[in-house]
Amino acid sequence: MTTKPDTIYFFGTCLVDLMYPQAGVSAMQLIQRAGVKVIFPPAQTCCGQPAWNSGYRDEARSVARAQIALFPKPIPIVIPSGSCAGMMKVHYPELFAGQPDEAQAVDVASRVFELTEFLVDVLQIELQDLGEPVTVAVHTSCSARREMGVADKIESLLGQLSNVQRVEHARKPECCGFGGTFAVKEPEISAAMVLDKVTHIRNTGVDRLISQECGCLMNIGGVMAKQGDAIPHQHIAEFLWERTGGNAV
């Protein structure tokens, strides 16, 4: 499905809903600006990943089943998060294997796109940078990187922005230690991981941290805020919308 569709479904994710709504708004606006209609099914809640990763498969399945019912049309489902996209694309088929609604789950999975993947591969979006010069560090989530294999998309989007300079940090592909419930269940290990990640990012001296994953942003940003002098962090959608004059529209 790489031809540009007329309409897409947007799945907002629970973290975007509560913490980073601007990321969801910007993502939908970017898609609309490219001439694609957006449907946001209002009954959407959560993809089910927290329960799935905790081993509570029955509970994960009942929540996933409620989401599957919201995307009946054969159009793409765009998700501004690698891990929720990974849940739907990779794990729904596993979760529903042998269930009566396996076919629907597989169908939904086949239509899932992580946002940056959709912008680059499907919309082939062209961006014009209207912002001031800025240096940024990129953090891709592990699910975007490994499960979805889309880590290069965020880079290519930022690469289109003439005034944005990307600065690499040490151990960039390494996990930030969020891991959903991991940060709560294994707080000491998680803290050791995120503290290292923050040090590596701070060492770059960048103006801003960009990611496509709100969980990672909340984790890394939370440490920076606690330490004081937080480097501003933003979801890629919000950053792109802002830099391309979105707010003026």
Binding site: V25, I39, T45, A66, C142, E186, K226
Partner: protein, 471 residues
């Protein structure tokens, strides 16, 4: 929550020297591995081929083990089967007793660690001498391996120099790695000639030819398997491959994934005891094949992939959790990602299931695994087995025993809310409205982080003004 694992983790996280040793060592190993695979396409091809070789072997495991036994026996190697580690120890003991042996010289073997063999034999007055340098060092210090390939990786040069000086006060203090190695060699050489029995592990067993393959760098493996008059090899039943042609690709990806070497210094192929007229080699060769839960793993199609492992340790080297807590935190013979899937299956998810939780599921392990073991999926499955209700549908030992009423109730409530959008959204709207009243201290989360900030209004509320179809 406090547990033995958690307490050890806490203690080890607080040791900056150990953490620095791991960080430095693993960084080096990751770079060395990368340098060995300049061609990504070639790497992926080799991984697919290696996975297929191991999957093929496992698909006919019982049959291949029979062929292996027949061919080994024909070659004059005596084959012993052990279902438990205790049986394996008894077999080793009976061979030692037959030869009246009071000492044993060992090449590196993780399965002997799994058996707790040194401990078992030493309690009976048999001296077990580790001849692998890393194993020798940790044995001197009364420790267990912290890594499956580099058992003493948690120690740096200066710590090792001090240890040698303490144990061998007659030898002048040095921090020179070459000199330290030479010291160990000198001490071990004499023991090799005196020891009546040598013991080793096995990397691959070739069914077709009845050959035992052993990969090593220091030559101690070769010494242990040739100098003493009796050689005992111990290994898990899964290490079999079908044909000799299966070995070169596996060997190539093993050494490159493990230590970043294109090839190791030694590659031993053992195909029988010394024949009349031959100048060296043992007079007797034994192979002890250990099950210890492996056939149970074999019986589950989803967990079977665990047995593809060729023990390269790459998953360990790339694991962001392992590098911070170190191998000893796991409290198991095999640490890191492979340990976190293997140990809960061997001992039961009730015993070591916590290890399956101690992962962010970041996937760095499966990204490098030369035989493409889907480690995160297996971790997820073991989490499920730990708390599942339908325990009759799984063979996993201890399944369901990690289920607690309170956790189960939490997920049930969560699922109920998330399948009732009105309630779910009322909850999130309330949360954003009254966010000032939310606690700012969220326990462990806020130890190093500020409390997460709720937005002024939810995406669901904002979307109404966006001109998107939301009804």
């Amino acid at each position: 929550m406090s547990s033995e694992f958690r307490n050890t983790v806490r203690a080890n996280l607080a040791k900056p020297e150990v953490r620095a040793n791991f960080y430095r060592a693993m960084d080096g190993l990751m770079t060395r591995r990368l340098d060995q695979f300049p061609d990504k396409v070639e790497l992926e091809r080799l991984r697919t081929q290696s996975m297929a070789i191991r999957a093929n072997a496992l698909s006919k495991l019982p049959e291949l083990l029979e062929t292996l036994e027949a061919n080994l026996t024909r070659n004059g190697i005596q084959v012993h089967w052990a279902e438990t580690t205790d049986q394996a120890n008894q077999i080793v003991l009976s061979i030692l007793q037959k030869h009246n042996a009071k000492s044993i010289i060992k090449g590196k073997s993780m399965v002997s660690e799994e058996m707790g063999m040194n401990h078992f034999l030493e309690a009976l007055g048999v001296e077990c001498l580790e001849s692998d340098l890393g194993e020798f060092i940790i044995q001197l210090d009364g420790e267990t391996p912290s890594h499956i390939i580099m058992p003493a990786i948690h120690k740096n040069r200066i710590q090792i120099a001090k240890l040698f000086h303490e144990k061998f006060p007659d030898i002048p203090y040095t921090e020179d790695v070459d000199e330290l190695t030479q010291t160990a060699r000198r001490i071990l050489r004499d023991k090799f000639y005196a020891a009546p029995v040598g013991l080793s592990g096995v990397n691959f067993m070739v069914a077709e030819t009845g050959t035992l393959c052993l990969v090593e760098n220091e030559g101690n493996g070769r010494m242990s398997t040739t100098a003493p008059s009796v050689h005992i090899a111990v290994t898990g039943i899964e290490k079999v491959v079908e044909s000799l042609l299966d070995v070169p690709p596996l060997l190539s990806i093993l050494t490159r994934s493990a230590t970043g070497q294109p090839i190791t210094t030694y590659f031993n192929m053992i195909s029988g005891p010394r024949k009349p007229g031959e100048k060296d080699g043992p007079e007797e060769v034994h192979l002890v094949l250990l099950d210890n839960g492996r056939s149970n793993i074999y019986s589950d199609p989803e967990l079977l992939a665990t047995l593809r492992c060729i023990r390269c340790g790459a998953c360990i080297n790339h694991c962001p959790v392992y590098v911070r807590i170190g191998g000893h935190s796991y409290g198991t013979v095999y640490p890191g990602p492979i340990g976190s899937i293997l140990e809960p299956q061997k001992a039961g998810v009730d015993v070591h299931g916590e290890l399956a939780q101690a992962s962010t599921l970041c996937g760095a392990c499966s990204e490098v695994c030369p035989v493409r073991i889907p480690i995160p999926s297996i971790l997820n499955r073991l989490r499920y087995d730990g708390v599942r209700k339908d325990t009759a549908n799984t063979n996993t030992v201890g399944s369901g025993k990690r289920r607690t009423l309170s956790e189960a109730a939490t997920w049930k409530t969560w699922a109920w809310a998330a399948t009732h959008p009105t309630i779910y959204h009322a909850g999130s709207t309330l949360a954003t409205h009254f966010k000032g009243m939310l606690p700012t201290n969220l326990g462990a989360w806020t130890t190093v982080r500020s409390a997460p900030k709720l937005a002024e209004s939810t995406l669901h509320q904002q979307v109404k003004h966006l001109g998107v179809d939301h009804e």
